[in-house]
């Protein structure tokens, strides 16, 4: 599906880079911990998160993520919006909680960019 399809499915409002939302997206990573996103998310992945500070855009920039879906209807900071615009990173907001957002996307064929963490201790 495309990022526009993601927005439609989750009733999400695209706040930044609507023109860039025709791009195809196959995988996602969901976390509220940017440290984990940095450690596990792959290039071209959709990030599903509740983090709204500018570092979420920096993280997406460094990892070359395809876009950011903010869950639970949170409003991104002004600095976050500005940075997303500067970096041309699609940013959308849905009122669905993270679990529901992930579930709906999974039902529609999206999968995790990794399935599990192979080298985790436990």
């Amino acid at each position: 599906m495309t990022l526009k399809d993601v927005a439609k499915l989750l009733n999400a409002e695209i706040l930044v880079c609507e023109d860039g939302c025709d791009v195809e997206v196959k995988t996602a990573f969901a976390a509220d911990l940017l440290s984990d996103v940095l450690a596990y998310a792959k290039e071209g992945t959709l990030l599903i998160t509740g983090i709204t500070n500018p570092q979420v855009i920096r993280t997406a920039e460094m990892l070359e993520l395809i876009g950011i879906l903010v869950v639970r209807g949170k409003t991104p900071d002004v600095e976050t919006l500005k940075l997303a615009q500067t970096k041309s990173i699609p940013l959308m907001v849905t009122k669905y909680i993270m679990f529901e957002s992930c579930g709906k996307l999974y039902q529609n064929g999206m999968v995790g960019c990794v399935e599990f963490v192979p080298n985790a201790k436990s």
Partner: protein, 146 residues
């Protein structure tokens, strides 16, 4: 300029980082990433260097008053040197372990401080050297072969 270990520098840039500035955190890594892309470094290498630089930059913002970054490109590798004036690391071996963290609540609220930074840096670079003195600061040297 000549470096006997790694050959001649094709490029050398210096940047500074302000401790505690979470709004501008990441600007140095972003600048480094842009340079690497502009000079035509392979995308996989650019990505690894960007992640390592960003993790190191976030560490300076979280745990130091200020930091200096030296970024060099040689024929064979990328060198990233992050030197900060800050609290330093008490036990480097322990700090390298995934999940070990001394982060404050403010850092965690930003989405960081999960104790993944140094191990993630290690994962993304070919050589990593950390020197630290408690109460003085930390020096993180990273090398990525190109």
């Amino acid at each position: 300029m000549q470096n006997h270990e790694t050959g001649e520098f094709l490029l050398e840039k210096r940047f500074s980082i302000e401790g505690g500035d979470f709004i501008h955190a990441g600007e140095v890594s972003s600048a480094i990433k842009k340079i690497l892309k502009d000079i035509g470094i392979r995308s996989e290498i650019v990505r690894r260097a960007s992640i390592a630089a960003y993790e190191a930059e976030i560490n300076v913002v979280c745990y130091a008053r200020k930091g200096e970054v030296t970024f060099r490109v040689t024929q064979q590798c990328l060198q990233l040197l992050f030197k900060d004036e800050g609290q330093g690391i008490v036990d480097i071996e322990l700090a390298m372990q995934e999940g070990y963290s001394t982060a404050t609540e403010a850092i965690r609220e930003m989405g960081f401080g999960a104790g993944m930074g140094l191990s993630n840096i290690k994962k993304n670079v070919d050589r990593l050297k950390i020197d630290s003195e408690v109460g003085i600061g930390t020096c993180v040297e990273m090398i990525i072969n190109t």
